[in-house]
Each structure stands twice: as C-alpha cells, then as structure tokens.
Symmetry: C2
Subunit: 423 residues, 2 copies
Amino acid sequence: MTTTVDARSASGTSTLDLGPARALSCRECGHQIPLAAEFACSECFGPLEVAYDFGRIRREDIEAGPKSIWRYRGLLPVPTDVQSHPNTEPGLTRLVRAERLGAALGLRNLWVKDDTGNPTHSFKDRVVAVALAAARKLGFTVLACPSTGNLANAVAAAAARAGWESVVLIPSSLERAKILTTAVYDGALIAVEGNYDDVNRLATQLAAEHEDWAFVNVNVRPYYAEGSKTLAYEVAEQLGWRLPGQIVVPVASGSQLTKVDKGFRELGELGLVEASPYKVFGAQATGCSPVSSAYKAGTDVVTPVRPDTIARSLAIGAPADGPYVLDTVRRTGGAVEDVTDEEVVAGIRLLARTEGIFAETAGGVTVATAKKLAESGKLDPDAETVLLITGDGLKTLDAVADQVGPRATVPPSAEAVIEALGR
Amino acid sequence: MTTTVDARSASGTSTLDLGPARALSCRECGHQIPLAAEFACSECFGPLEVAYDFGRIRREDIEAGPKSIWRYRGLLPVPTDVQSHPNTEPGLTRLVRAERLGAALGLRNLWVKDDTGNPTHSFKDRVVAVALAAARKLGFTVLACPSTGNLANAVAAAAARAGWESVVLIPSSLERAKILTTAVYDGALIAVEGNYDDVNRLATQLAAEHEDWAFVNVNVRPYYAEGSKTLAYEVAEQLGWRLPGQIVVPVASGSQLTKVDKGFRELGELGLVEASPYKVFGAQATGCSPVSSAYKAGTDVVTPVRPDTIARSLAIGAPADGPYVLDTVRRTGGAVEDVTDEEVVAGIRLLARTEGIFAETAGGVTVATAKKLAESGKLDPDAETVLLITGDGLKTLDAVADQVGPRATVPPSAEAVIEALGR
C-alpha cells in the first residue's frame, strides 16, 4: 500500500523509510532536498514541506486499517512499520451530524468534527504522533517543544508512551491546570521566566545546539505539520468518501488550514474521492486576527500583531503560514473572518447547548465565525458544511466560569426543586 | 441482526421496540415483567435487569457497524433504529498495548482500555447513551440524575445533544470545575444544600412523582446499567474476538464489574468468541472498600461504610451491586483488593509516566490495585490482562496538584535550561 523509497539524509548515506515521503520541497522556490531534519530551504530560506510518491491507495485498504490516523499511513511521512512502535494512536474522532447547531446557525447540512476525543483531547495529538514517528526514523531521541498548552500535553504524553525523554518549555506564568496536565507525564517540564516569544526563541536555539532533540514544531516541523492532513482524510471518509462543500478551520499559525486543503486535494488526485469543489474558511479571534485583517484588506501581506484574546491556543501574532492561508482561502472561494471574545464564549455555549460538545476557546472561535459567515451570506446555507472543533473545554474552564452555573441552590426538598424549575 | 419483539408496558398495550430486549427479570427471584420503566421486582423488591432474545449475531455485522457502541445495538436494550435519533455516540475507545506499564507491574501481556476518549471523557457516556435511547422509547421526555461528577457531565451533554430537557441534582458543595463542566450544557442544574445521600433520596422521590422524568440511575437503571456491557464487547473485539484471561475493574456501585462479566458471557454463548475462562478482579479505594472488606472476610454481606477517599467517583458507601460483585469475582477465580489514597496518586502517575494516559482517581485505583494484585501473585504475570481506565485526570486535577510541577524555573537562556536538565 505504501511506497518505500530510498533517501539520503543530510548527514550522509542512510536509507530512510518514511513511507511515501520522497523529499522535502521548498514551498517558495521548489528546491528539493532529501528527507532530513531540515525545515528551511538552503536556497531561499523558505519553509520546507514533504513531497510524496504515493503508490496505489485504495479505500478498502484504509477502511481495513487501524482505528486511528495510522489507517492513513500510506499518505503520511511515517515508516511503513509505524504501528510496531508505541505511539499515541490518535484520530478517527467523531464526525457528528449537527442538526440542532445547524438550525441555530441557519445551516441546513452541518457536521462537527469533534477532535476532543483524542488522547490528550486536542488535534495536537495528530501532529505530534506523526512528528514522533518521523523523529524516531530521523535518529532523534528526545521529543521537545515550546508551548502554552495543548502541544505541551501532547508532546509530554507521546514521549511518555514511547519511553522517550521529553523537554517541554513553557512560560513560567502559565496557568496551574496546564502545568499539571503536562507535568503529570513526568518529562522534563521547564518553566522559563519570560513570555511565549522568549520560550520560542530558546527552542530554536536549543534545537540548533542539540542534534538529538526533536522540537516537533521547529526542526521536524515539515513532518509534524503533515499530521493535520488526517483531519481532511477522516472528514472525507466519514462523509462516505466525499468532500464537504465548505469547511471552517481555526487559524493559529495557519498550518492546519493549509494541510486540510492539501489533504482534500490529495484525496481527489488519488481518486479516493471525486475532486468536487470545496471552500475553505478561516476563523480567528479579533484580538489576534492578522490573517483576517489581511484577507479583508485584500493584501498578501500579514502584518504581525500583539495577541490579546481569551483564545490563547490561537494567539500567534506572526502566523508562519498566514500567506498560504490567504492563498488557499482565495483559491477555493472561502473567506477569513474574526470574532470578539464575547462571541467566542457565546460560541462555546451554543455548541454545548445544541450538540453536547464542550469545546475550548478555539472551538468557540470556529462556531462564532461560522455564525458570522452564515449571517453575512458567505456560507451557503444548503452546502454540506464541516466545523473543526480542535480542543477541549476542560482545558479552558475560565472562559465560561463567569457565565454558567447552577440554575438555583435549594434546600433538600422535592418542592424546592420543582419551584426552582418553575414547573 | 436484531430481533424485535412485542412487549406490553406496565401501563398497558404499547408495543416496545427495544431491540433484543424481551423482558425485565428479577435478579433475586427470577420473576419477569414486560419491558417498562421499572427497577424493583414487584414480588420481592429485588433489582430488575434486562433479559434478551438474541437473534443471530455475526462478527462481520458488528465490524461493519458504526464506530461507536451502536455497533453492538443487537446486544443492547435500544431500538433497532437507535441511530436515527441524536445521541452522543460514545465507545470504541482505544485499547492500548501497555508494555511499559506492564514492565513496571511485572505483567507481561498487559492492555489498557482508555475510556477517557468518550464525549465527556468517562465511561458514563456509555450508560447514559443507552439510558437515553431506552428512555425515549419508554415515553420519557426529561433526562435526569443525581451525581457528583462524571454522570452529571454525561447526562447534561446527552440531553443537550438530543434536544431534551435535563435535570441534574448535585450537592451544593461540589467543586467549581465539576459545576462548570455540567452547567455549560445549559440544562437545569440544581445545587442541593446537602450531601450526596440527600441528593440521591431527592432523586428517588422526584422519579416517583414525575412520570416523564427518566432518572438514568434510578427509574431506568436496568437499561442504563446494560451500557457497561459495551466495555466487554469492545475489549473482546479489539483483542481480535478473544476474551482476556484477567480483567481489573474499579468498583463503585459494582454494576460495571457485573456487566463486564455479563458481556463476556454473552459473547461466549453467542459464539462470537471462544468461551475461554477469565478472572474478574475488583478495585476499590481503602477509604471506601466495603466490597473488598467483604471479599477478604469471606462473607456475602457487604456492610455499608462512610466514604473517605480522594477517589470520589468510586465513593459509594453502600454499593447496590456489591453482593453480585462478590459472586462474579468468586465464580471466576478473581479477587477484590483495595489501595490507599497515596497508592491511588502513585497509580495515576505511573500510568501517565509509562503510557501517556492521564486518568482520574478511579484509574489510579485500578492501576494501583493491579500492582498490588500482581505483587501478591493473585494476577498471573503471563495471562492476557486488561485494566479498565474509566475516567479522565483533567477532572480530578487536585489529586496530583501537590505532587507534580515543573522540574525547574529558569531565566530565558539555553545554558540555564541545560543546567536545569543536568545535561
């Protein structure tokens, strides 16, 4: 099912089985290099991404595969024997028919992809699992990242499962809950006196100095990012091997949105689905909306901002893939929109009330953005529409803490309960 | 695949499609009544459970079914068309090969069933989904429960998804996080000034007075409890249609343990697996260990206790199914064991460190009990062994809060990070 190719690593002569992955290719100048732990083009410093030689891939083989992202291993830069090493087995999360949310939004054919069911309850388990599988093959022995939340959880958990050391760098001001949910996996969690930018800079420096450390979102980023394609594969398979007409994706670095588009295109090119047209929409919080601003201004230039939003998992002020998001959205006929923090909380509550899914703030951004896009007529109310819910409300309880609580507090009597219910 | 039978409800002449369910049968005296919203035997006040007429059930039909507990609808008291009504679609959670945990425990063939992947991150989504499906058919319109945590989340979420009203009764002293994670679904959450016993009594009274309220764990309990069988079905299917040699199950009311056993037996009787012998082990926290105490005393009488343990989701001092747990454990050659709160926390940390799975306190009870049973030789180190992890650590952060944290807090320099790591 997968094609194994020879490739020479940057360091010399090793043969690298990363499944169908053939080379790293510069997204700017197209220059190609052999598969290696590189992330920037040696010619133009553009970002590298994985290029493939896919063999013949059949729906039946995928359907007969494991109930995790590894059913798509023939489409990912992971070894053919990826399943023989311990990893977190994320994916194949629920695609939920959302009639009640659809009625509230005026969308008559709506689905929610609920990625809170992953091992550490966010889509980051997908990208980290792919990064770990590739990193093992690339010769790394330590899994690392700078993070403020979901990624820290995912890296620490995956490393624990694999028996690897992990190094997770966080700003020392991080909330207690996020520290605990990372520290419990017992890797090396280091709190850095500084903000996320400081932590990020440190990670880049450490990645350069320690050749056995795989910083998932730095020096193995080309492999890591491919993990997001699995969201597209699953949506299409779960719809019955069909592309949706519209999809709304939250935008942080922008990588996820571009990879969902890449995944849809690959499925069409491989004949696994009919290559029907689809529109990709991006969702941002107004307090960190550089891509939405660029989209609305009609420009290709994404001007960095200083984030100020409760949607902290999307708060990347200088999104690396912002220009590619603009390309994708414009090419497919979508749009980028942004919503206020008040709308974010209302979006979280609307999704919970109508579908029983409790999303983190990023999910509130997606739902609220879909609402805005539907109201403005940019989303077709009759097209098959998918919203990506990429993280869990349990991790961002503060967002709703002021707004929800018991209907009433009553003495222990049936009459008091009935009275409180107004029945 | 499922057999639809006619049944008359207690109220008269309605025909009830609850799939293969045929009647309610008293677990004490065997008296049978038609399917209805009853939970106690009219002859002897014993607990009622669902009796079935299974049609022919084939592995292939199950395997071709939905990727949720509804693939087993032919084995559950739910309507044949259960999938045509919105519900939470729990189940088919990961069964993880646990080599690293196994090495730590001295168990050479160990699996972990990770039920944190359910919609609200505990096994309660299974039982509530079955209760909702049956309750709809039984004519109820409100989903309700008394709860201190996981059940509250599951009921509020399932009702939201279905568009039903919910009434969730909690002690007013409940932790803020558990209130938020229930209230966000916007049902009627009522805080009662009293302890869980007060809340439970209120629920029984309200269930008697309001015939349209389905208290999932009171008046529709016989249907609700069957949902736990799906844990057994999934374990067997995920092992390749085979029963494990040993399984360790946490004990609260004891219902889950008895239903896991029932599920294994049904699979054998239906020829879906070879009816090979297996041992069922129960796990309790020492601070609430009435069943373990009875087991060790060699008696059939479970003496109620006042719970005092951090494993609050298991803290039922008078477990309704305690005697049935003793029967099951003794019949299969298993045991019941209990562990201290310190051991519970160590169990949570051991599972996280070795397998990247962050369990709630009940999971810590299961792991720590398995450790104790392995050390005492009661668990065969070579038998295929499954541990049930039924809830998520994100909901019981306080259990580990004093014990885990960053390795170090350092200034933003690479040297400081390296020094902190001792490398």
